[in-house]
Amino acid sequence: MSRTMLTGNVAAAWGARLAGIEYLPAFPITPQTEIIETISRWIETGEMDCRMTTLESEHSMVTAAGAAAAAGVRVFTATSSQGLLYGMEMLYTTAGWRAPFVLVNVSRGLSSPITLEPDHNDILAARDSGFLQLHCATCQEVLDGVLVAYRLAEDERVRLPVIVNMDGFHLSFTREPVEITDAAAAARFLPPFDPGNLGFRAGAPLSEAVAVLGGSPYSYFRYQVHLAALNAEAVFPSIAGEFHRAFGRPFPAVETYRCDDAEVVFVMMGSFATKAKAAVDRLREAGEAVGLVRPVMLRPFPSAALREALAGKRGIAVVDQNLSPGRGGVLHTEISAALQGCAGPSPVLASFVGGLGGREIASEEFCEMAAVARRAAAEGRAPEPRLLFTEAERKEMRNLQAIALARGARERRP
């Protein structure tokens, strides 16, 4: 099969096109806009048979997406950052409707201060919404992830919406060779949406998403969302296996890279994990037994696969591209919990927060993180969490502050 140079955004649009989406509620936001622009162009040229409606906000966009899914059509939508947060109420709400659809989020750091560069605080804010989450590291994975996401979302053992996440700029605006799946093969992998008993029809009364009184029915309905999400972990391997057989590309819940004999591993999500891969290669050349474990699926949390991947490792460097103020890295917390109570010697975890707001993570920083994790393993003691921030950056900040905090030039005049 031939490969084409695509940005992550266009790869997402291709995923939607191959999924045969019928409805696109949309709202522009950088760095996601290219997705909806691409699809709208295909709709105009007749290459896609899809209805697109531009709403007046992401809150309305997610509402329309959920409502249309509840009405029984295949829905795709996309947003980023502030937009995801603006629609947050409806993420929780529509997940409870048990109406499956797919939302691509292009990760971007959150205000304040407002920024355009990527990190994962936006997507992690949606962690507990009931949406499933797939985190992509390449443009190919974005396209593949959209197809896999629909199979997962629409599986009758699941029936939950899914977010496919990619990093702003590093994937959204970065072109890479992407294999565009054959449309017929895609249609075989992903047959038309069978809405089951979803849908509003004359003669078939349906009161959807009604209120409950009391904690018992509420507990039942929310816990069913949890059980459905857990089912997604169970059904994922067969869907991913089918995908692999159909297209020759794996789509694992957890990717492991040079892990088998590794003593120290990085744990990272998203496109920056490919930087970790590069560092792994560099360290391997230097004779160090280092690997990478990358959760692709974050919800449901693939605890079993992660435990298996991390079993026997001595040191783990968890690199969080997010920050939970007052706690630290979110992934570090989740990995710690997953390893708690496992049989065998426990690995020592080192927590690093890096890449906030798109801040670069240099190759030598990965090497240093591996060294810290190795020393910690040897000492049997977890080090203090660290923010990746260098002396040069501190100086740069001081220079900026010298301007920001000085009295204005005009005032200084005599």
């Binding site: 048990r98 053992r157 008993n197 039942y220 069913q224 857990l230």
Partner: protein
């Protein structure tokens, strides 16, 4: 610990009663919790409120399920199972009901083993106890039955809880509190504090594994139409509109359209009829009937007439 539950209807001052009693206990040096509990229902619907009081810090929370004293501001609630007036009423539970009937009648009717007392509907002056003072009267009665809160504390609590209302209203509430407190003097202290924890073996909670169920059944969606009629909102009603067919001119389009709940239908003869299972007793029909053909009958009397007539 004293565990006391008030039952009434939305708008009857049950929440205020619990606050007056809570404050009265607090002023008497107790640790206290008071809280109202209401769901989606509105004015006229059964609600309850509760008070816990103890000399030691209170660690319990939430609805009282094992009351030492239950007070019922509206006797029509007792027969309504959804009102749960009798929930947790045990051998030692004292029971006060605002009623014109004898205590023995209530004791026999409900097979109560604990002390039973009525708050007479005649009121302090024999002219009938106005609904707006029932709350203060019930709070004062509860204070006296518990026996550890002085009348002075109750009167001070009435003043604090009703602050902002007209002086005359507060004075009338205090008068009703004094009246009810005095009435209960012969039974003063009949409600004894219960132990913090029930004695005996601790029963298992009966947990089950909640299995995954298909979204077809496990989403909060109702696939049947017009199921709301299973909810008998007629229970909210304290006064019943009765169409006097001799006076009715059959203009059903007036009452039928204006009834907010749409409970007035038309029979084959073109005469309007009222669905009492669902009529909330708002009386819009009565006030709008052009020929004044609708009467207001207290629900107590209407039900009495029904049972006398052998009807359901």
């Amino acid at each position: 610990m004293y565990r006391i539950r008030f039952h009434g209807r939305g708008g009857q001052g049950v929440k205020t009663a619990s606050r007056i009693l809570g404050t009265a206990f607090f002023l008497s040096g107790f640790e206290v919790q008071d809280a109202p509990r209401y769901g989606a229902e509105r004015r006229g619907a059964p609600i309850f409120a509760y008070v816990r009081a103890d000399r030691r810090p209170i660690h319990e929370r939430g609805v009282i399920r094992d009351p030492g004293l239950v007070l019922v501001a509206d006797e029509t609630l007792v027969a309504i199972s959804a009102a749960s007036v009798l929930e947790g009423v045990g051998a030692r539970t004292a029971f006060l009901v605002h009623s014109g009937e004898e205590t023995q009648t209530w004791r026999d009717r409900l097979d109560l083993a604990g002390p039973v007392v009525t708050l007479p509907v005649a009121g302090p002056h024999g002219e009938g106890l106005e609904a707006r003072y029932v709350g203060a009267a019930c709070a004062a009665a509860a204070a006296c039955l518990a026996g550890v809160v002085s009348l002075g504390a109750v009167e001070e609590a009435v003043r604090e809880e009703l602050e902002g209302l007209a002086d005359e209203v507060i004075a009338r509430n205090r008068e009703h509190a004094r009246w009810a407190y005095g009435l209960m003097e012969p039974l003063r202290g009949c409600v004894e504090p219960d132990p913090a924890h029930p004695a005996g073996p601790i029963p298992p909670p009966g947990w089950v594994e909640l299995p995954f169920e298909d979204a077809r059944v496990s989403a909060p969606a109702t696939h049947a139409g017009v199921t709301s009629t299973l909810v008998k909102t007629g229970l909210w009603r304290t006064v019943r509109p009765v169409i006097e067919h001799a006076r009715c001119r059959g203009c059903w389009w007036v009452c039928g359209s204006l009834c907010p709940d749409g409970v007035i239908g038309v029979d084959e003869a073109g005469r309007p009829w009222i669905d009492y299972d669902h009529c909330k007793g708002c009386m819009v029909c009565l006030s709008q009937c052009p020929n004044r053909a609708i009467d207001a009958i207290p629900e107590r009397d209407a039900r009495g007439a029904e049972s006398a007539g052998g009807e359901k």
